[in-house]
Symmetry: C2
Subunit: 149 residues, 2 copies
DNA sequence: TATTGTTATACTCTATAACTATA
DNA sequence: TATAGTTATAGAGTATAACAATA
């Protein structure tokens, strides 16, 4: 009958558990490989957004990463204090700050990305290279395809 | 030469970005599907650990989920206040609290797991069922195979 | 001495609301 | 009026250290 007892699953099979713990493992590896650059994985993400596009306002960077613009203030404060990014009022609209990489920031983002690749490789080391790329592609599919909200 | 400029990757291809945003999407879906049960995805995880094994101490539950035992105190306080779990001193070792599901907790964990399945299905809906299972298996491999610390 | 649960405390991450300067 | 950046504030989530009870 349909009211039979459901066998409850092992918590280690739940998607939330798996995503969280995979993220924690990556954080650990990033803590090692990014230490020489004085940034963490989230800060590298900010640098990548700034590096990859036309000059962006703070708010555009925040939107790309899914954080509030008020949160971005302190994040950029920290990167600016380390002379990795600059903020300059946009001459065309002086409400906006154009965020850009410094020369040092540009060097760091490239070297830190290589270090982050090592962290990712460590987390993915139990997988065949083809499966590692498959995992990344599957995640990218759900993140880009699933409507937020 | 080897010092040529490295092309910096799109942030949306980084493993950390993908894991975090996949987790956020799942949180959103859980907020919808678990609302009737008054718990969130992390609390369901605790209930699953308690449901799945021989009577566990608080510390064993905390260890299984990778949180500190001091953190577990408040989490169990909340579940106990909703009459989903009980704490009883272990007669064989009265330093330990044996944590168990109440009758209500047992009913909730089974129905909430079905609701969580719906949340997972929504997040994975862009994937073919076979790919959804592959994603879960790949994540499980790295989480169980990668040594922590 | 060592361990379990607990409390006090602090730190990180984050969002909301209100302020300012600009538009 | 509306928007970008900022500040003040508050609420999660978490860990560390110290304490009481028990082993």
């Amino acid at each position: 009958m349909s009211s039979e007892q459901r066998h409850v699953p092992e918590v280690g099979t739940r998607l939330g558990y798996l995503l969280k713990h995979a993220g924690l493992l990556l954080e650990e590896q990033h803590a090692k490989t990014l230490a020489p650059f004085g940034i963490d994985g989230r800060e590298l993400g900010i640098l990548l957004v700034i590096a990859g596009r036309e000059p962006s306002s703070q708010q555009e960077v925040a939107r790309r990463l899914g954080v509030d613009r008020s949160t971005m203030v302190a994040l950029l404060d920290a990167l600016e204090a380390r002379h990795l990014v600059t903020r300059q009022p946009d001459p065309a609209d002086r409400r906006r700050n154009v965020v850009a990489l410094t020369k040092k920031g540009d060097a760091v983002v490239r070297r830190a990305t290589a270090a982050s690749d090592e962290a990712e490789a460590a987390v993915l080391s139990a997988l065949k290279p083809q499966d590692a790329e498959r995992l990344r592609a599957l995640l990218a599919t759900i993140v880009t395809a699933t409507p937020a909200g």
